[in-house]
Structure formats: C-alpha cells, structure tokens
Amino acid sequence: MTGFVTPKLEYVALLPMLIIFAGAIIGVLVEAFAKQSLRKFIHSLLTPTTLLLALFQVFANKDLVTTNAAINSVVIDGPVIIAQGTILILTLISLLFILDVDSFAPEASALPGSEEERKALAIGKQQTEIFPLLLFSVAGMMLFPAANDLITLFIALEVLSLPLYLMAGLSRRRRLFSQESAMKYFLLGAYSSAFFIFGAAFLYGYSGSIQFSQIRSAVVGSSGNDVLLLIGIVFLSVGLLFKVGAVPFHAWTPDVYQGAPTPITGFMAAVTKVAAFLAVLRIFYTVLDGAIWQWRPLLTAVAILTMVVGSVVALVQRDVKRMLAYSSIAHAGFLLTGVIAFNKAGLESSLFYLLAYGIATLGAFGIITLIQDSQGEVTDLNRWAGLGKKSPAIASAFAFFLLTFAGIPLTSGFIGKFSIFSAAYESGNIAVVVVGVLTSALAAFFYIRVIVLMFFTDAKDATVTVTLPTLRSSIAVWGTAFLTLILGVLPNSTLSFIENLAIFTR
C-alpha cells in the first residue's frame, strides 16, 4: 500500500480565494449572531473589505511565477490573475447597487401580502443573507478559471451556481415571477451539471486521469478511444455553454434575467460570464487543443447560432431586462469567436472584451434599478418613452452603454469587438467574423431604437421617475460610464497589461 503524503498547499497563491471564503463564513456568523438591525450595516463594511483585500492580494500575486497549487488541482497563471481581478472589480461595482437599491424581499419565502410578510415589514426586516451568498458565489467564480482538474472544475461550478439559484429568487417586487425564474434556473442548471459531470466521466474514461495536463497528453497522443473523447467533449461543452448562455442552451437566460432582482441580474450577466468564459478558454486552449479539428466546427456552429438568435430575437422584445438578456446571448456569441480564434490574440481580446462588457452591463442593469414608479422598477420599454426629457443625464448614460453594446467607436465595446473579430480573422475563421459583423449591425438597430424611444418620443407616463437613492448609485453609474469611455478612448495600457499576462500554462 502506498503511503499518504502531506500535500503541499501554496497558500499565497490560494490566498485571494481563501480570503473570500473566510469573509463569506464570517458573514454567515454575522447572520447567526448579530442583531437584526445591525446586520446590514456590518455586511456593508465586511463584504467590500473582503473583496478589496482579495483584490489587493490578486495584484500582489501578479508577479508570481506561474504556480500549480494544492497538488496540481489549481493553477494560478496570467489569465487567472486577470480573471480574478476582473471578477473582484466587477463584484465591487455591483455591490454598490446591491447595497443601495431596496430590491430584495425581507422574507423571501413569504407570499406577497401574507401575514408573514406584514410581520417582517413591521419589524423592519431586511434581506442580508444576500451578502454571504454573494461572497460564496464569487469564491466559486474565482476558482472556476483556476481549476486544473475536472473535479475541482465541477466543485467550482457548483459553488458558483448554488448561491446564484437562491439569489435569483429574492426579488421584492413580482415575487412569484422571481421564484419561478429561480426554479427554472435551478432545474436547468442541475440538468446541465449532470451533462457536465457525464462529459467529465467520459474524458476520464478516455485518458485515465482527471488532471488537465494528462488529459491533454492523451489527446495529443490520441492514445485512447476517440468515441469516448468526442462524447466527452460534447457533454462537457454542453455544461459550460449552458453557463455561458450560448444557443441552443440559452432558454433560461431571458426568463432568469427578467425574474431575478435587477442588481443580481447585472451580477450574473457580468461576473458569471467572466468565470465561465475563462474556464471555456482554458479547456479548449490548453486541454483539448489536440482535438481542435473536432471541436472547432462544433463551436463555430454554436457561435453563429448564438449571434444570430441573440440579435434577431432581441429585436422584438418589449421589456428592457429581456432585451438586455438577449443582448447578453449575442455577446456570448461574439465572445465564442475568441475561443474559435485559438491564438494568443483571441485570449487577450476575450479578456478585454469580458472586462469591457462586464462594466457596461453592470452600468446598464444598474440604471434599470433607478427607473421606478410607485410599484417599483419599470421595465416595460414603452414606459421608458421620453426618459431623455425627464432625466437627460441618466438617459444619456444608458444610451452610452447601449452604444457600447452596439460597438460604436469611442466606446470600450468597439475596441473589444474589433480586437476579438480581428483575432478570429487572423486565424482564418472568416465565416464567423462575417456573421459577427452582420449581427452586430443588426443588433445596433434595436439599441438605437431604445435611444430614439428615450430621446425623441414624448413621455406618455408621468408616474415613471428616476430615483438616485444615495451617492453609491451615482458613483456606480458614473464610474462605469467613465471606465467604459476610458477603455474606449485609451485602451492601450489595459491592452498591454493583458498582453503581458495572458499566457496559459499547460
């Protein structure tokens, strides 16, 4: 019998994730012991502090030579550092909206208008469990791109998903709708996890190892049964593409994005995409690179379908959140062209695109939380008419984010789209680039339609107002707009920062 050896854990490399986990556990203890009235205050200090500490540690780890930590189950390389930094920055921004906007049900299990609901409101109960849940989810997202074997990848996927399922059902307004979306998300997510683990089992059967490096050498040497490899690739891709929201695994996206509390929708759209895409990039760039001729046609079809369906269906949406959900599907398609490119430029441009898209998405969903009437948020597009006259500043910011999504020059979206399409062009995947450019033009139509609606249509509804609860929302809205502009006008320092770090280790 072989002996067990004490494993060596590279604590410094793992520290950012450990900090977040520790913060989340302290958050649970706060929920258990702190007085009801104090909880939100404590969380409002604890959560940002945890995120900032982790962010600081990520940047301190920047110059770390690439490390395999925890017996090769986690790898910390350049793209992981960038992804973790991006995840933490985006979470900090979305935290500003989560803290500010009162869009969570105090007693989520209570039916609206029931006795429990009245009691909870009477004692001034607030939803505070969202903060530890958020931190757990962030920890999973930070681990997801860093996973270096299939088991760690799966654990990270579950750690990031489970809190999201819960958070999607916590909306204060339209409670049943929100709960329905959480249920849909959970059931479909569990189903896709099953596909994922099934694919992982096939890859293990093919290569005899769960380690990425050994799966890679098995693929390169094509030593095993190719049928197992192909089934493994397909099923693993299904699990990953579900998280990304690519067609034909996108059906949950509009329902969940519409039903979830809007700050959480922003968080899901921006931050989950970073984690999921980095994992997709790692798998296809470093693990399955030997099987590129098998997966590239598959992903090309998925990318083209995703771009077309996302852009076309978004045209007919009457709800702002649903429209942005379909827009996020289209963006998933654009990001998949970076995976198909399969070169260093593809990786770099994907990382930049994720940062730029994430910031603009948070800003756009943040603004939706501010457009309210007496019943809460207004998401019906018709009632947004004439918003530009009521509040020119906020409407301009929203228009700016829409132009970013459309990829108009001088916004970060343009730089992102340009670099990701040129990476795909360089690699010779012309078809995907042509479809990408055409659907971008198509998508620009519905973004501009909203701008026209806001600025050149008379207001029909006087009850709709723009509310800025506190300074935090203003900082978040203008901060994201400013960052989007900076990334569009002066992208060079960010691009070169990414260029220096973005090398996967195998």
């Binding site: 002996g3 067990f4 050896v5 004490t6 494993p7 556990i25 649970v28 203890l29 929920e31 258990a32 012991f33 039916l111 029931s114």
Partner: protein, 119 residues
C-alpha cells in the same frame, strides 16, 4: 471467465428475487383493503391534511433532513482522515479542525435561526 460474469449473475439474482417476491405476493396473498392500507405512509404518523391557505406545507422534516446532510458529509471526510491519521500528522489535524469548524458554522447558523425548534 470474464470478471463481469459474477457481477451480472448477482444482479440477475437480485432482480429476480424482487420480481419473484412481488409476483408471489400478488398471486398468493389475500386482497382485503381497508382505509389504513390505502393511506400514504409518512414515517408512521398520520398523513398531513391538505395544505391550507395557498398550498403551503410544513418543512420540518425537510430541515431535519438538510441538517442530517451537514453531518453526513462531515462523516464522509472523517473516515478517510481517521484511517490516514498517522501519516498526515499535524497537518491533517489542523486541516480537519478547520474543516469541522467550517461545517460547525453552518450548524450554528441553523441553531441561531431557529431551525432546531420543532414548533
């Protein structure tokens, strides 16, 4: 002999046993139905009446079951640790202490939030 043959044989015997027992019971047993026999079995207590007011039902059993899972998972990791205790030494002790502490946080949360109160 193929090593899978005994496994298939055991599977076939197990399946056959279930099938034969059910068939024998159905064919030879008396069929006298009464009210208690037709009720759903819920851990030996009377089945809950229809949920009142909006379809809500008590989740007491559910909470207990979830609580059980916390300790279930803990035991899953305690056994291998007990087996390799000598080889892992102080490292194993510290890591397991951290792990148990983390699990305990979940338990404390349930306790403080009233998950252990039956009514």
């Amino acid at each position: 002999m193929n090593p899978y043959v005994p496994i298939i044989a055991v599977g076939a015997i197990g399946f056959g046993f279930g099938l034969i027992s059910l068939a024998a019971g159905a064919l030879t047993g008396p069929k006298r139905y009464n009210r208690a026999k037709l009720e759903a079995y819920e851990c030996g207590i009377e089945p809950s009446p229809q949920a009142q007011g909006g379809g809500r039902f008590p989740i007491k059993y559910f909470l207990t079951a979830m609580l059980f899972i916390i300790f279930d998972i803990e035991i899953v990791f305690l056994y291998p640790w007990a087996v390799t205790f000598d080889q892992l030494g102080v490292f194993g002790l510290i890591e397991m202490a951290l792990f148990i502490l983390t699990v305990f946080v979940a338990y404390v949360y349930v306790w403080r939030r009233g998950g252990l109160e039956w009514d």
